[in-house]
Amino acid sequence: MSLDKAAVAKIAKLARLKMEPDRQEAMASELNRILSFVEELQAVNTDNVQPMTSVAPMKLRQREDAVTDGGKPEAVLKNAPQRQGDFYTVPKVIE
């Protein structure tokens, strides 16, 4: 598998990263080196191996259904670049 410049531009756009066209070639070759390493790993036969989800023998911890958090709009909005009352405000989203 190999990425071209167009694929790099698309990935950057989806991730909301600004990438000048003259950087795309170099980025494509960096990403391709990572992909070829993954391809090397994929050569190993894992047909009968369960995916490993944790290095420790633990299960997903569950909590009780109780209200234990919230009620702190000041903390939540503390780093907001812009606010109006207790709302965050962002440049208008046009659908």
Partner: protein, 486 residues
Amino acid sequence: MAEKDYIQGATGAWEIVIGMEVHAQVASKSKLFSGADTTFGAEPNHQVSLVDAAMPGMLPVINGFCVEQAVRTGLGLKAQINLHSVFDRKNYFYADLPQGYQISQYLQPVVGKGELLLDMPDGSIRTIGITRLHLEQDAGKSLHDQSPRESFIDLNRSGVALMEIVSEPDMRNSEEAGLYLKKLRTIVRYLGTCDGNMDEGSMRADVNVSVRKPGGPLGTRCEIKNVNSVRFVQQAIEYEARRQIEILEDGGKIDQETRLFDTGKGVTRSMRSKEEAHDYRYFPDPDLLPLEFEQGWVDQIKATLPELPDEKKARFIEKLGLSPYDASVLVAEKESADFYEKVARGRDGKLAANWVITEYFGVLNKSGQSMEEFTITAEKLGGLIDLIADNTISNRLAKDVFALMVETGKDAATIVEEKGMKQVTDTGAIEKVIDEVMAANQDKVAEYRSGKDKLFGFFVGQTMKASGGKANPAAVNELLKKKLAG
């Protein structure tokens, strides 16, 4: 598929194919991965934890109650429960999604294939396949109309637990889609897993619509997002099917896209292009281990399920002699079914059903009151039905008594006693009334006797009126026939 389901276009018949994804909010106190409150209508950003605001370093911890409700709903849909499922990140960029991804389930959902039965108005049943049910986070809310240059963001909904319930593309017209949504709502309300409150956004539907020539290959579909009422779902489907047929008949092709239903104009319009919208780059969430539980726990939940609408309906038909239609009306809300059962206990099931559905619901709906507030209790309605059953009053007069019960709050026996409304079954008294009516209408008697027997109804009406509605109708019929025959 019946012919009647096809839409006629300029080039012949078209068939609509509909599938639905319904988001049902889990009736939990706190969110799926944080301890913030889920109560509707709070001040903006007052029910937000730092997890919901996606502050760096925050980690999600799953709410066990939400998992239980997903399993419970799956069992109610007769679905396969997966003891091992996985949470994935669904990546997309939007202002009210602070994480930049939604925690959802993709390839391994907690609930697999099930089914839902539609109660069609003609009494038949349609089975709609359920593809899956998975747990996921809701996003925040954007307000676009508060300022010309800015959108306002409220994260109170961010992280609230949703069950996304996906159907197979098994529906063929807007009526079935409406019935599907109603039935799903009934089931989650019976189970108590979602409050089903569509006005507050507790249930929203994404509707997939495509059209094809009957029996042909599936057409390209459009997804209509976030429709929040049964009526709007049906309107959106009708509009969208017509739109697609027009494009195809003009030689065009359908673009697969996400559309919005404009409730004001009754039209759907394009929302965003597919390239960006559908490239979600799912991958397993590294912050969460797989969700695992034992079959024994599932069995425990199964043992606590209530009698569900389909079973209740079957029992009403079999044990109480109701028609499939009446039974499905009564089981649509659990409160209605419970009320009916109280009224019907020890009484005629069909008579009780008629009174509950026609008279009681008719007046209740007009009153705008809830069943608890309304003056007519099951005991009072039962008392009225007893008076009909033992012939104290006729069914016709009972409607007047019922109106007085609503007006005064008194019980039926008291009203009948006070107003002297007891039915007259004494044949002597009825004969006397009939004689008076015949004497006052001798011309009509002559017409009747010369063969205009349609006038019989006139005499029944006059006699009932003259008796103040109290004469026993069967006795009136019998005596009138005899006397008019001369």
